[in-house]
């Protein structure tokens, strides 16, 4: 464990916290998606960091993992955006506090 890894992890933590903040506080679904993407990016950053400063950096395992996660994140975002579009077409809004039909 050295200072560089800690710095990267700190950046990752800030990124994750910002993402979480965005996902929790923004009222627009699009921004929530962006926040979620930021959290995912923080996760990927962690993967890469632990690989780069891990015991076997020559095996490319972490990079591969991050690459796959990004691909999956892209698909997930596409689905999320499609959902938001569908909701918008239906409700004429993307404000999440108006989308409360899940209320019990």
């Amino acid at each position: 464990m050295n200072g560089t890894l800690a710095a990267v992890l700190a950046v990752s933590m800030v990124l994750f916290s910002l993402g979480l903040l965005a996902a929790l506080s923004r009222r627009d679904a699009i921004f929530m998606l962006i926040g979620i993407e930021m959290m995912l990016a923080a996760g990927n950053l962690n993967l890469v960091a632990f690989w780069r400063y891990g015991p076997q950096p020559e095996l490319l395992t972490g990079a591969m993992m991050a690459l796959f996660a990004m691909a999956i994140a892209a698909g997930e975002t596409a689905v999320g955006l499609a959902l938001v579009l569908a909701v918008y077409r239906h409700r004429r809004t993307t404000q999440v506090e108006k989308l409360n039909t899940l209320k019990g």
């Binding site: 979480l20 996902a23 929790l24 506080s25 929530m32 999440v96 506090e97 989308l99 409360n100 039909t101 899940l102 209320k103 019990g104």
Partner: protein, 657 residues
């Protein structure tokens, strides 16, 4: 080589039966057609009977049967068949001939009847059933036809259904004969269980052929007596004679048919047909079964002759005379005079049909008055009826030499005289002959002599439709005696299966003088005693108690009403009570138990199971609504909870580690 007619003997009853159905199918409006179809059917049956009669002449004691399998029950084939022998052939001829006469008479007598076609359908059916009895070679088919005869008699006695008396008489006839038939049926079952067949003759294997009879052993007597029960019912023997006089409620041609050709003849015929069973193992011609037959016959014959003296309805007198003559025939069969009994049955068929149709002619002439006390002096107004009625009366009384009834009666007396068991039946029968002459003289005097009383004042001679059959029957009664005389006893030898020979010397016999004496005494004393016959009977003036007991028929009907009828009514009521309270009670008890169980189960369901389920549902619902309240619907609040939870888990992990 059996002739063609034997295997086609069924055609004889089939033709009248077909005629009956045809008449029913034609409808009520076709009156003339109905009568012609009925008469044509009967004439065809008569011609077929002649065809059947001819081969029986070929050899003495000729007999042929045609048996076939009716149906197979499991692996037991049920065989029935037709039987042609002198007994059957003679009966066929008599029945069909008398039926033709009665049918023709009916066209005139029933001319104004609304249900004319129905009447002829029934008549044809009646005659068909009786012919079926005669040709049957199986006790089973005989029994079926026997019951059909009973049904037809029920329909015809109750023909005037609108009259309660007729309906009651029909019921009485049906039920009384049914009591006898129950015995007959038991006898048939017993015989079948022992002999294994109900065919009369089957080339040595039939139930009344020696091989089967020998196997019966002691049961034979009881079977014979059970079968005789059936004959007693049908032939009106004491104590089942009560239905026969009541049967006079039917139209007169029906009375003639019942009393002459069908129904009552069936009983005598049955005994004659089953004679080998009755007489099997006879010592000196005596068996226990035959002895019973003799005594029943004697009682019936004498009792009915007495009762006839106290009757004032023209047909009832004849009815009792029939009962009396049937008793005579039974005696004859019982003492071994089989041929004499059958000869009397046949000659009785002719002259009794003549008398009944004659009385029908009288009733028709007197505008449907049947009480002889209202008649009188008809000899001048209805000369033809008077002449034929006198022939019938003399035949019935047994006036010797000329009349058929006399020869046969004499043969019966002769046979009874030779009965080794007891001399009593002979003397009782002689008394019966005297009484017969007496009551017939009484009837003749009341109806045809003296001054015309109320109903006879406007009497008129009947039309040809009524008189032609009368003349035919009267000439038959006279001509029939040709084959009966002891000089040339053709019919007797024909029936017993021997060859007849002509011997004029035998014509004069001691029995002839006895008969002449008794009959003359009867007629003369009758003529003297009833010389002043009027509204009140001379016997009623002379011996009121005696007359009353004859008139009330020895109170036998009352006795039955107070014993058997009362007992059966009591039994019926007891059965009803048993049904209502015991069996019904048991059923209701079971129903109550079942209801109790059902109610208990309902309570369990509603109180226990349903309540548990309801409580569970309520709790679930309450919990659901409480938990549901936590759902704000705001995604971000969910996310917040998620984040806080994750953080809490993370901190917990950090703290634990």
């Amino acid at each position: 080589m059996t002739p063609w007619i034997v295997s086609h003997l069924f055609l004889i009853p089939a033709v009248p039966l077909l005629a009956a159905f045809l008449i029913v199918a034609m409808g009520r409006a076709r009156r003339a057609a109905a009568a012609s179809v009925a008469i044509a059917g009967q004439v065809i049956a008569f011609s077929l009977a002649v065809c059947a009669f001819l081969p029986t002449l070929s050899a003495p004691g000729w007999r042929a049967c045609s048996n076939f399998v009716w149906f197979t029950f499991g692996d037991i084939p049920l065989r029935i068949g037709w039987l042609l022998d002198p007994l059957g052939a003679a009966m066929l001829l008599m029945i069909t001939f008398v039926s033709v006469c009665i049918f023709v008479f009916s066209t005139g007598y029933m001319a104004e009847e609304v249900n004319f076609t129905r009447f002829f359908a029934y008549l044809s059916f009646f005659s068909a059933a009786m012919l079926g009895v005669v040709i049957a070679n199986s006790l089973l088919t005989l029994f079926i036809c026997w019951e059909l005869v009973g049904l037809a008699s029920y329909l015809l006695i109750g023909f005037y259904i609108e009259r309660p008396a007729a309906a009651a008489a029909a019921k009485k006839a049906f039920i009384t004969t049914r009591i006898g038939d129950a015995g007959l049926f038991l006898g048939i079952l017993w015989l079948y269980s022992r002999a294994g067949t109900l065919l009369f003759y089957d080339h040595g294997h039939g139930c009344i052929e020696p091989a089967a009879l020998a196997a019966l052993g002691g049961a034979g007597t009881f079977i014979a007596l059970l079968i005789f029960c059936g004959a007693m019912g049908k032939s009106g023997q004491f104590p089942l004679h009560v239905w026969l006089p009541d049967a006079m409620e039917g139209p007169t041609p029906v009375s003639a048919l019942i009393h002459a050709a069908t129904m009552v003849a069936a009983g005598v015929f049955l005994v004659a047909r089953m004679y080998p069973l009755f007489s099997f193992g006879a010592v000196n011609g005596i068996t226990p079964a035959l002895e019973v037959v003799v005594w029943i016959g004697v009682i019936t014959s004498l009792m009915a002759a007495f009762l006839a003296l106290g009757q004032s309805e023209i047909k009832r007198i004849l009815a009792y005379s029939t009962v009396s003559q049937l008793g005579l025939m039974m005696v004859s069969l019982g003492v071994g005079g089989l041929a004499a009994g059958i000869m009397h049955l046949i000659s009785h068929g002719f002259f009794k049909a003549l008398l009944f149709l004659g009385s029908g002619s009288v009733i028709h002439g007197c505008h449907h008055e049947q009480d002889i006390r209202e008649m009188g002096g008809l000899r001048r107004k209805m000369p033809l009826t008077f002449a034929v009625y006198a022939i019938g009366m003399m035949a019935l009384s047994g006036v010797p030499l000329l009349f058929a009834g006399a020869w046969t009666k004499e043969a019966i007396l002769d046979a009874t005289h030779r009965w080794p068991v007891s001399a009593a039946p002979y003397y009782l029968l002689v008394a019966g002959v005297f009484l017969t002459a007496l009551y017939m003289t009484r009837q003749m005097i009341y109806v045809f002599f003296g001054t015309p009383r109320k109903a006879a004042e406007h009497a008129h001679e009947s039309p040809a439709a009524l008189t032609v059959p009368l003349v035919a029957l009267a000439s038959c009664t006279l001509l029939f005696s040709l084959v009966l005389t002891p000089a040339w006893p053709w019919l007797e030898k024909y029936l017993t299966g021997e060859k007849a020979s002509l011997n004029p010397a035998l014509l004069i016999q001691p029995g002839l003088f006895t008969a002449l004496l008794v009959v003359a005494a009867g007629i003369i004393s009758g003529a003297w005693f009833y010389r002043r016959a009027g509204r009140t009977d001379p016997l009623e003036t002379a011996a009121p108690a005696l007359y009353r007991s004859f008139e009330r028929r020895f109170w036998i009907d009352e006795l039955y009403a107070h014993t058997i009828l009362k007992w059966s009514a009591f039994a019926a009521r007891a059965a009803a009570l048993l049904d209502r309270y015991v069996w019904d009670g048991a059923v209701r008890g079971i129903a109550r138990i079942a209801r109790g169980v059902a109610e208990f189960s309902v309570n369990c369901d509603e109180r226990a199971v349903n309540r548990c389920v309801d409580r569970g549902c309520d709790a679930t619902r309450r919990f659901g609504s409480k938990v549901g309240g936590w759902h704000s619907g705001q995604i971000q609040s969910y996310l917040r909870a998620l984040g806080i939870g994750a953080l809490a888990l993370f901190l917990l992990y950090a703290w634990l580690a």
